[in-house]
Amino acid sequence: MLELLSWTMLLLPLCSAAVIQLLLREMADTAIRISVGSVAATFVIALLLLESEDRTLTVQWANAGSFHIEIGLIIDDLSRGMMIVVTGVGLLVHLFSLAYMKEDEARGRYFAGLSIFMFSMTGIVLASNFIMMFIFWELVGFSSYLLIGHWFQKDSAAEAAKKAFLVNRIGDFGFMIGILMLWGILGTFAFREMAGSATVLVDSNSTLTGIAVLLVFCGALGKSAQVPLHVWLPDAMEGPTPVSALIHAATMVAAGVYMLFRLQFSAGIEIFEGFAGTTIAWVGGITSLLAALMATQQDDIKRVLAYSTLSQLGYMVMAVGLAGDHSGEAGMFHLYTHAWFKALLFLGSGAVIYACHHEQNIWKMGGLFQRMRKTTITFAIGTAALMAIYPLSGFWSKEQILEAAHHDQPVLFWLAIIVATLTPFYMTRLFIVAFLGKSRGHGAQEAKEVPPIMLYPLFALSCMSVIAGFTPVAEKLSPAFHHPSHSFSPTNPVFLISLAALLIGISSGILLYRGRDSDPLAGNRLFKVFRNKFYFDEAYLVLVRVFQNAVAVVVHFLDDFVIGNLIVGGLVRSASGVGNLFRKLQSGNLQGYAFLFGAGIILIIYLTVFAR
C-alpha cells in the first residue's frame, strides 16, 4: 500500500501533464481540473504518508552489465516534511491559478507545466540517489523554463526563461562533477549507503572531499540562486505570479538547500567540516546580504520579493554550510516556514497585481488597504512572518539560524544581523508604499477585492505562516525538525540583538517612507548601485560577449579558414595542381614523349645499377 501510494504520488502529476499535453490541447478547462485534481490527490497522499515508517523503494532504470542506475523513493522524516510543503503550497497555488489564469488562452499549457513541475519536485524530494536527484533537478529546471516563458511572445519573458535555464546549467555543470567525484569517494550514488563510507576516506582525502562537496554545492548555487549565479531569479519574475510563488519562492529554489541537507543528512556532517562548509556558509551569508541590499531599491513588487527570497535562501544555505550541531536542521526549518509565508507574499502580490490590472510598480500603487482589506491583512501577516516578528513562524526558524551562526561563526552572525535589519526595512518600505497612503496609479485607484477563490489560498497560507513555527506543528510537518537545545528565553543575547535589528529596520523604514511619492534614496550613489543590482548583469554581459561570443567568432573563423580552407582546400588544390603539372608533360609532341621515355629509362638504370 505504502509502495503504491508513494509511486502514485510521484507519477500522478506526470500522467496529468501527459494527458493534458497529448489529449486535451483543445479542452483547457478539463485540463485544469485534471491538474488540480492530481495535485490535491498528491497532497492527500503526502498527509497519509506522514504516519508511515521509513522505507526506500527502488527499481532499476538503466543497466549496463553489472552496473545499474536506479530510480528510487526514499521515505523518511526529511522527505515527508518536504512533501507536505511541496504539495501543500502546490495545491494552494493551483487553486489560486484557477482564478489568476482564467483569461489566459494558453492556460492548458500553463497547468501542464505546473503538473510537470509538481512531478519533478516530488522526484527531487523523494530521490533515493544522486543520479535520480540530478534527473529531477534538470526536470524542475525545465519546468521552470516552461513556466517563466509562459508568455513567450514577450521578448523579456523568452529571454528570462533562457537565462534561467542557462544559469542553472552552469550550476549543474559543477553539480554533476561533484556527484561523480563523490561517487568515486563514497563508492555509491545512493543516499542510504553513504553513511559511514565517508568516515573512512574523509581524513586522507579531506581536500578532495571538500572539492567534491563544493562542486555539488554548485548545483545549489544555481538552483537556489546564490551569488554569483543568482542573476536568473529576479528575471524569472517574468513568469505568471503564482509560478513565482510556487517555484521561485517556496519550493524549487529551496531544492538546493534540501539537496545540501540531504547530503549532510546521509553522508554525515563530517564531509562539510573544513573549508567546504565554511565556503558554503560564506556564500550563503554574502548572498543574503547582497540580496537584501538590492531589495531595498527595487520598485517592482515581485522583484522586491524575489530579492527577499534570495536573501532568505542565503540564510538557509549559510545554516547548512555552518555544519554546526543542528544548524542544518535550522536551515531546513527556515525553508519550511519560509515556504509558507513567501508563497503567501507572492500570491498576495499576485492578487494585488491582478487587482491593479497587471501593474507591478509599487510607486504606482498605494492605498490598497482601503480597497482590498482582506488581501492586505494576509499580506501583512506574511510580511510580519518574514520580518520574524514574535511569535510568527519566521521568528522561530530565523532565531534558530542566528543561534547557530552565533555559535559557530560570529562574523557570519553579525552579517546575518545586518540582513535581519535590512529585511524589516525593505518590507516596511514595500508595505507602506504599496498598501498605505494614497493611490498613485490608475490601476490602484480601480482596484477592488479579488474573488474568493484567490482569497482562500491566502487565508490558508496566512494561517500556516502564523502557526507553522510552533513546536507541535513543526514537529509534525517540518522536515527533519530538531527541538532547540534550550527553550526560548527573552534574555538570550541573540534574541535581544535580533530584536534590536528588527526595531531599527522597521522604524527606519517607517521614517523614510511614510507619505512618500517617490524613493528618497534614489539619488544616492550607493543606493544606485543597489538599484542596479551591483551591476552583476552588466558584468555577465561583458563576460559572455568576450569569452563566449568573441571566442566563438574567432573559432568559427579558424574552423572555416584554417581547417576548411587552408588545410582541406589546400590539399585539394595541391592535388589538382600536381595533376596539371603532369598534364603539362603530356605535350602531344612525339619526341617529347620519346625523350621522357629515355629519361625514365636512364633514371631507372641509374637507380638499379649505379646507385645500388
Partner: protein, 106 residues
C-alpha cells in the same frame, strides 16, 4: 679477334646513335630508320653474346642467333606496316614532320 667488350661498345654506340636520331630528327621516316638502327644494335649485341658464349663443344650458343632471325623478320613486318601508316599520314596531312602531330595533348 675483337673482344666481347668491343662488340658491346660498338653495339651500344649504335643503339645510342639510333636513340639520338629518334630524339633529334624531325622527319618521321628518318625517325623510323633510326628505330631500325636500334634494332640492329640489339641484333649485334645478341650475335656477339652468342659468339662468345661458347658451350662445352666449343660451338656458339645458337639461341641468341635464333632470336636475331626473329627480330629481323619482325622488323621487316614492322617497317611494312609503319611505312604504310606514314604514307597514309602524308596523304592526309601533306607532312611527315613530328612537330605537326600535336592535335591531342594534355
Amino acid at each position: 679477334m675483337a673482344s666481347l667488350q668491343e662488340y658491346l661498345f660498338i653495339s651500344g654506340l649504335l643503339f645510342a646513335i639510333g636513340l639520338a636520331g629518334v630524339l633529334i630528327r624531325r622527319n618521321i621516316i628518318v625517325i623510323f630508320m633510326c628505330l631500325e638502327l636500334m634494332l640492329s644494335a640489339a641484333n649485334l649485341t645478341l650475335v656477339a653474346f652468342s659468339r662468345f658464349n661458347t658451350g662445352e663443344n666449343g660451338l656458339p650458343d645458337y639461341n641468341g642467333q635464333v632470336l636475331v632471325f626473329f627480330i629481323i623478320t619482325v622488323a621487316a613486318a614492322e617497317v611494312a606496316v609503319g611505312l604504310a601508316i606514314i604514307v597514309a599520314l602524308y596523304r592526309a596531312r601533306q607532312t611527315v614532320d613530328v612537330k605537326d602531330l600535336t592535335s591531342m595533348r594534355g
